[in-house]
Amino acid sequence: MLKVNNISKSFGGRTVIEDISGEFDKGKTNLIIGSSGTGKSVLLKCIVGLITPDEGNVYYDLRNFTDADKEMKAEIRREIGMLFQGGALFDSKNVEQNVMFPLEILAKMSPDEKLDRVNFCLKRVGLENVNKKMPSEISGGMKKRVGIARAIVNNPNYLFCDEPNSGLDPQTSIVIDDLIGEITHEFDITTIVVTHDMNSVMGIGEKIMFLFKGRKLWEGSSADITHSNVTELDDFVFSNKVMQGLRKRT
């Protein structure tokens, strides 16, 4: 379980996220949703420590990450996997080297064990026989898969995904979403997915936090999202044509 307490962050006097608290459950895909520019990525970056929040704390299973000392931070980092928007694969390394990279840095394994683990993860995300390909030679969907493989290679307890569907066609989006959901359940990971895609929300959202202009306006499950009585959330949810149809029918 991961908890954030009263997180605020401003850039140059402009408040981007304000006083956000919430819990993200283990073994579930937790979603942070909201339209573009509402501060979803900033909140996620505060959680993983890429941005230091101005106020508030992040707890990884009761361990305070924000105030942690060097050793504790390093320990928590070893338990984190992250999938970035474009995959963020290292251009100069091939698929295998990309997936192996966290092991080289963080794990104490023999070269054979590392390679076995890398191949296991690549197979788990549905990629085989692409080990020697460079990132520039594979498609966007494959990059995301490699990104997922790299994120889970170190057996993380926490998985973070920033807009896993951006730049993908609808079909591939669903495949990637499902993969994230399956992996979360299979390895009992605390997963947080940032998205503005209603398909993902309905597809894999188990616990959902809705942000609007840097504030948390609603929290709940995908079953409750269509009758929240929060105007901003309704505007967001029903901006999608499919969802509009759904509203008419119910």
């Binding site: 970056k45 993983v48 420590g49 890429l50 931070k73 390093a74 980092r77 070893r78 984190i80 992250m82 970035f84 928007q85 474009g86 963020a88 694969l89 290292f90 251009d91 990279f101 966290p102 840095i105 963080l106």
Partner: protein, 244 residues
């Protein structure tokens, strides 16, 4: 001034929370290949032309029969070792290596590869930039030696082929009143220039924000800023080191 302060802090951040010696050793070797070996051919080509042109130009400008021919190669030597090799190579180095450092780091920044490193707990500034600076410090003097040698050899060949100066005179001129302080001076310059170009270019690339357009802007800024820094340093070093 704010930029300069940020640059100093950036330099500081490349030497804290460093990776192991083994990792850095491997990264430096990789960078040496990228920075050094892949520039040798270009540097040799450009310097050969510089040597050849200087030889022809000097001969052309020496109209008085009273001046001995070996002065030609003496002039070529002084020009090459003091200015052409360290300084002109700096401009080439900035254009080729500096721009690729800035472009590479800028791309890594906007595609979140730098964030990916940071999430894994790696100090990205140190991991990415420190090896580039060290490799530049190692490779740049080598390139300057290559440049000097190519220039002098090209001068020799052109002088010989065109009949401007005989090989004997050329060699004599090269050795005439040779002060090896100029080699020391060239090497000092090399280290300073290598440091300036690699660190400024990395700095410009590392702090890129935005998209592909900004990467292009950062790349241009890396080249212009480091060339200006090199030329200013060239002047300052001449003032400092030549007044003996």
């Amino acid at each position: 001034m704010k930029g300069f302060g940020q640059y100093i802090l950036f330099l500081g951040s490349t030497v804290v929370r460093m990776e192991s010696f083994k990792t850095n050793y491997r990264l430096v070797l990789e960078e040496c290949v990228q920075i050094g070996l892949k520039s040798v051919a270009l540097v040799a080509l450009v310097s050969s032309f510089m040597g050849a042109v200087t030889t022809v130009q000097t001969a052309y400008n020496m109209v008085s029969p009273l001046i001995p021919r070996y002065v030609i190669s003496q002039v070529v030597r002084e020009m090459t070792i003091l200015e052409l090799a360290p300084t002109i190579i700096a401009v080439i180095f900035a254009g080729k290596v500096g721009s690729s450092m800035a472009g590479g780091l800028g791309t890594m920044r906007i595609t979140e590869q730098i964030d990916a490193l940071e999430v894994m707990g790696i100090n990205s500034a140190s991991y990415l930039v420190f090896p580039k600076i060290i490799a530049s410090l190692l490779m740049y003097p080598m390139l300057v030696v290559v440049a000097g040698a190519s220039s002098l050899i090209a001068g020799y060949l052109v002088g010989n082929i065109t009949g401007i100066i005989t090989p004997t005179d050329y060699i004599y001129g090269i050795r005439f009143y040779f002060d090896d302080y100029s080699i020391t001076f060239a090497m000092i310059k090399s280290f300073v220039f290598a440091f300036l170009i690699s660190s400024i270019s990395s700095f410009k690339g590392y702090y890129t924000q935005g998209g592909a357009l900004e990467v292009g802007i950062a790349t241009t800024a890396a080249v212009t800023t480091s060339v200006i820094a090199v030329l200013s340093a060239d002047y300052l070093l001449a003032q400092l080191l030549y007044v003996r």
